[in-house]
């Protein structure tokens, strides 16, 4: 799995490519922890290259959700494949996490606050 961080204004775009499982989730956790430490409020997750996600990958986002909310930050996921979306859906996470079609919509949602 590869993670690329792109900074555009006050938005941190995290591009995840490959398979996010118990083995690779640690790497993502470090990235999210650092973003929270820096009090990043707008984090978009580019899922276009994300081919697989397990509970360990989902756990990274869930475990930081309340910390993000506590200082007004949020995650917005975009360009998610049907198979990855189905994992969110099985657990009901699609109703808790913000998931949109593309980057434009993600930015718009961030700007709305």
């Amino acid at each position: 799995m590869d993670i690329v961080q792109m900074h555009e204004g006050d938005v941190l775009d995290i591009v995840i490519t490959g398979q996010l499982d118990a083995n690779s989730a640690i790497k993502l956790d470090d990235v999210i922890k650092e973003a929270i430490k820096q009090r990043k409020t707008k984090i978009t997750i580019n899922c276009v290259g994300l081919s697989y996600i397990s509970s360990a990958g989902l756990g990274v986002f869930i475990s930081h959700l309340d910390d993000m909310k506590s200082y007004g930050g949020k995650f917005v996921f975009y360009d998610m494949s049907e198979s990855v979306f189905s994992v969110f859906k099985i657990l009901g996470l699609h109703t808790i996490m913000e998931i949109v079609e593309n980057r434009g919509e993600a930015k718009m949602l961030m700007d709305e606050g």
């Binding site: 499982d21 118990a22 397990s54 756990g59 869930i62």
Partner: protein
């Protein structure tokens, strides 16, 4: 049709296990979505055995036996790790909101396994732990 794989108890082998499952399921007449979900459920059970049952001790091994009939797909994961049915039940039934509130990273895997598979059984026999998962095929 049957197949089996024995590999070391390390999360680094999980991708190899998913490829093994994908190859086995490839010719089966179920949708890609169903195949992906079965692979996910087995991957979760394997991760559980590696991380919680065997504390990622890569001197140990884990065995995966899979079989398919006209009616069902069955997988049995066996290892020498610890067995804790009470903890498993607790985690399965835990509310999503509680998991978020407690900032837990775990607790979702068992929810996925129980949501996807039709039969989930954990048991011990002759000093080994087993997890049997069955998916009925339509």
């Amino acid at each position: 049709m049957k197949a089996n794989l024995t590999t070391i108890c390390s999360t680094e082998t999980q991708e190899e296990i998913r490829i093994f499952l994908g190859s086995f399921l490839a010719p089966i007449s179920i949708t890609d979505s169903e195949k992906n979900q079965i692979i996910l459920a087995v991957d979760e059970a394997v991760a559980n055995a590696i991380i919680h049952g065997n504390e990622q001790d890569n001197s140990r091994s884990i065995q995966i036996d899979i079989s398919i009939s006209k009616k069902s797909f069955t997988v049995e994961i066996s290892d020498i790790g610890l067995f804790d049915e009470i903890t498993k039940q607790d985690k399965k039934d835990k509310e999503l909101k509680a998991i978020i509130k407690e900032k837990q990273k775990g607790g979702l895997g068992l929810k996925l396994i129980y949501s996807i598979m039709d039969v989930v059984v954990f048991y011990t026999k002759d000093g080994k732990s087993y997890c049997r998962l069955v998916k009925m095929l339509k």
